[in-house]
Symmetry: C2
Subunit: 317 residues, 2 copies
């Protein structure tokens, strides 16, 4: 009996052939291929997830055994139900690391080289130099989240002779970081930093972690960057901090509400770079993603277990 791997998006033929090659009992399908309700009973694996699949695949004794998430963050998935019905979950942590680290480096270098003011001046045909330029090594950079993205960024910064400070759950030491501190020391470390970069997953502990008090404690010359999850930031507090120049600049890629509504007050600020949740857009995504999927798929059919990126359904990351 053919089992289905249901995907929320298409992949190139070469990857579908590879699935067949690994185990011809499995077939890659899209939702449109499942024409009757019995077909759903053959779905053992999904790639990605859609809200509408909740009712079709989440029930006592579901055939679904494993969900391979497209993203690194899994906060938007029905984790409790996965746990209840004994469905394994793997994320795609690592696939996006280079893309997001590249995005972050672009922001840091733009800022060091006076690009934000040059771009603003260009709108007004104004020829005017910024008043300070910096080397990467002149900045105290705080990377909040030392997973694969944070590690990749840290390795970049090391090349440019900067040793960042890291924050993670328990303060465990990490290569390429000058120091690491536990999450409860975030505010203390942020107070001393020129750049604070959030890359944390969204959990109960990180919801509105960056609030009014946090921004007030930051240096008024500092920059706040969010490429983690939107709800980790109290958006209203961020707006206020930028408007009152409690911090100098923000570069925000993820928002509590996406798309950010056209009439949102953040759009009208001068001291923010708004990007539309693009930091993780990954060139050669299919290839990188499928490398993780195939490793897991091979292990899954042989041993029923998963090798890479299994998510703890208790902690949510």
């Amino acid at each position: 009996m053919t089992k289905y791997i249901l995907s929320d998006r298409s992949f190139r033929d070469e990857f579908l052939k590879q699935i067949q090659k690994i185990d011809s009992n499995y077939q890659f399908v899209l939702e449109d291929d499942l024409t009757n309700s019995e077909d759903w009973q053959n779905v053992e694996i999904t790639i990605g997830w859609k809200k509408s699949w909740d009712e079709k695949l989440l029930y006592e004794k579901t055939p679904l055994k494993w969900v391979q998430s497209i993203s690194a963050g899994v906060d938007y998935l029905p984790l409790d139900q996965f746990r209840n019905y004994n469905i394994k979950l793997t994320n795609s942590s690592g696939v996006h690391a280079q893309a997001i680290a590249d995005h972050l480096l672009a922001i840091l270098f733009m800022q060091n080289r006076g690009f934000f003011s040059a771009i603003e001046n260009q709108r007004h045909a104004k020829w005017e130099m910024a008043d300070n330029y910096m080397n990467p090594q002149d900045l105290r950079i705080l990377i909040v989240g030392t997973g694969k993205i944070g590690q990749r960024l840290a390795s970049y910064l090391n090349f440019f002779e900067n040793q960042p400070i890291g924050i993670n759950t328990n303060g465990r030491t990490m290569e390429d970081f000058k120091n690491t501190f536990p999450l409860h020391q975030l505010e203390e470390q942020a107070t001393m930093s020129d750049v604070v970069i959030n890359i944390l997953p969204l959990t109960d502990d990180t919801y509105h972690l960056y609030n009014k008090e946090f921004f007030q404690n930051m240096k008024d010359s500092a920059t706040f960057i969010n490429v983690g999850r939107g709800p980790s930031v109290d958006t209203q507090a961020l707006h206020q901090a930028l408007q009152n120049n409690e911090i100098a600049f923000a570069a925000i890629d993820v928002f509590e509400q996406e798309p950010l509504p056209a009439d949102h007050p953040l759009w009208s600020l001068k001291n923010i770079l708004i990007t539309p949740h693009i930091s993780g857009f990954t060139p050669h995504f299919q290839k990188k993603f499928m490398a993780i999927f195939f490793d897991n798929f091979t292990k899954f059919i042989k041993e029923g277990s998963l090798t890479e990126n299994e998510v703890s359904l208790a902690s949510g990351y």
Copy 2:
């Protein structure tokens, strides 16, 4: 008798003390310190140059022996007269290498990560992804000029797994470059490249090197960057190429006329980044510049010769 080192700008006390320490016969002065015409006859060295000094220091049997330029490019200096009156010239090549390489990296990463369209969309409160994202290694980058700036950029690109192509006078091989070609093969190489970066000095050979035909031969998806000298580019041809989408984008830091006049048509184009000749702005400039000056000064007083960055007054670089 005290000899003068006349500078076109002030430096911090620590550096003036260092001069005294190396040779107390020399004194650092600014133009305002030279109160009578006899004082000018003690000027043996200058740091930088002003047009008004031509008539005061350039004549048969001038006491002036050595000019230490503040910049790497020396095209704006009276080279023929320096040669006639046997005045040595050193430039500050290398001082600006990191700053300019950082500036170039900012442009490349902004482009790879869709920042130019994100910034344009932000003006209109528009949430819209760009349609392609790239890794540095996906680009064929042509670096025209393999001096200290080009070498620094090449070493950056190597770290990001990109091996650039280089152009220099005779095509001599250079570390960190995949290939190098002589200047007469520039057009042929540019035709195949995704990014063309000009870092050449301005000489008779490089005046309007980038003209109408050049831009027409480039890929229409390509980017042209100029951090060398403005007059290497035929500005009108560049404007036309951008307006007609013969090339996709330009990032221009140096112009034939600076400041670029407020009514110049380049300002109104969408597919250009205009920066106000800032790529060379160097953090910790005094320290880096004085390192070159002190090496040369020490050699100069001992042996009358110069160690670092002597400019050939025949070739102009």
